[in-house]
Symmetry: C2
Subunit: 328 residues, 2 copies
Amino acid sequence: MRSLAILDSTLREGEQFIKTFFTLEQRVQIARWLDRLGVTFIELPSPIASPETRDSIQAICALGLQSHIVTHVRCVEADVLAALETNVYGLNLFFGTSTELRSNSHGRRIEQIVQQAVPLIQLIRTTGRYVRFSAEDAFRSDLVDLLTIFDAVVEAGVQRIGLPDTVGIATPRQVEQLVSLVASRYPGVGIEFHGHNDTGCAIANAIAAFEAGADCLDVTVMGIGERNGIASLSGIISQLYIHYPALLARYDLTQLMELEQYVAECLNINIPYNMPITAPSAFTHRAGVHTKAVLHNPNAYEILNPTDFGLARHVDIGSRFTGRYAVG
Amino acid sequence: MRSLAILDSTLREGEQFIKTFFTLEQRVQIARWLDRLGVTFIELPSPIASPETRDSIQAICALGLQSHIVTHVRCVEADVLAALETNVYGLNLFFGTSTELRSNSHGRRIEQIVQQAVPLIQLIRTTGRYVRFSAEDAFRSDLVDLLTIFDAVVEAGVQRIGLPDTVGIATPRQVEQLVSLVASRYPGVGIEFHGHNDTGCAIANAIAAFEAGADCLDVTVMGIGERNGIASLSGIISQLYIHYPALLARYDLTQLMELEQYVAECLNINIPYNMPITAPSAFTHRAGVHTKAVLHNPNAYEILNPTDFGLARHVDIGSRFTGRYAVG
Ligand SMILES: O=C(O)CCC(=O)C(=O)O
Ligand SMILES: O=C(O)CCC(=O)C(=O)O
Ligand SMILES: [Cu+2]
Ligand SMILES: [Cu+2]
């Protein structure tokens, strides 16, 4: 069986959501919960962002969790050196590779990106830490540019390369194509996918990436992040539950609901009704045609078993929708 | 260019959402708004559900909208006769065809479904109305059962057949396969897709259906519906905007935000942060790396132009995230 790591970025990408202002205590609590649930990686911001961020990283590293703690850092010396002064398991480097980001963000040419990244990766490898290199905005990047950079960083020793759909533009088919191409070119290296939800396909894109060869998928609790966010933890879990249940063996799925409720409380929002598994309405049946059948056998209109998540089904028999149709 | 009809089912599927209790006045208001936006079909519940539903149907038919008004009715004589007494443009028939629904919902065998559906379709056709037949739970239905039924209803004269992913189990690839198969078997008939969001793929599945040959996609405002709902109107619009902009020529996209806000108010909810286009955060940039680039050129982190939807971008330069990173 192929393996799949889930990387939770609630404490990094999720902190870029407009409603997020976590305290240190909340960050620690969320990290513990993610660990109990069983995610492989927990991603944190760069320690250079602020002294407070640095303290949070050290506090979370000190918990001694099973989940690997990685810090998300720009591919510049100051960030890497600051990261190496913390106790993180590894560094998730990123560098914008599309024309849009090269000209509007950092102004570097492809050769400059390579020249900047390679020695930093080599340095990190000498310390024995895990290192991933991600081509920010990979899906608007020229393929030659992308592969030129990946050839160099793979040669320099990265353990994983990242393909983020930074602007949420990719379709499942495009994800499948790029991931399979990269997977067959770099057979010894892991592949991570990170997909934004601007056009509503983040979950489908992540699963397409896994099916095409990615071995690490980025998520956040409730999918929070920049703009419309990224793939949600519960969405990816719902997909694996249906299509690859063996990959969930190491997870304690009963933790999901409480974790999500806790994060929702921190943000002062409700869990959206469209969240797989954890939405208040996820296991509520309302139309009469539905309630009648579900009372007979839940399998009629349910593909996930709520009890596997410590949840209960609700049949809305008080609704006006159950009147005539329920008899029919 | 291929054509694509959008069917909005906010007033039918959307009424199955646990928070929905529309008044007649609200239904009329929503129908007008959908018409101004430019959707091809507006789907309403069966008139047999209640006298109040019947009155709403007649009130909306009386508006003389450009959008075609269809009623969603069980494939039984009483429902069809009641529908034919209203002024609707057409009837959207449905019948559960999976083993799960046949044994737990209506108890009919495949031959019985055919025997029940064919004369009703012929009857509807004699009145000159539009008729669609949908195989409820198509993605858990046996292919032979499905095609046996479709062969018969196509022969009986339906103008469109529906392939709903009633339980939200399908992947984009499965949708692509089933839709292409059905599209090549019934070249003279339209194909409608309706996808639930239980595993977070409703939007991706709808687009996969279109790409495989479907010519009608079901949506609701904000994706509201049973359980986690279905594909959202704004999600499908965001996809078309990026990948098939010519298909949006007939739409007035500046209506979308106000329509959605109105429905959110009716339901007493906020528009979820994960909604493409209409989420309060959809065009808000927060991380320093992002804000810096977006101030230079919005294209750096934006693939949809907010002004096309009558909206504005927001650069969150007051956030702590713009500190160090923004300088970098
Ligand atoms: O480092 C990565 O792979 C992802 C960075 C990010 O948040 C993005 O590109 O959207
Ligand atoms: O009639 C249809 O095609 C859709 C009915 C429905 O809401 C469903 O199957 O989820
Ligand atoms: Cu991101
Ligand atoms: Cu439905």
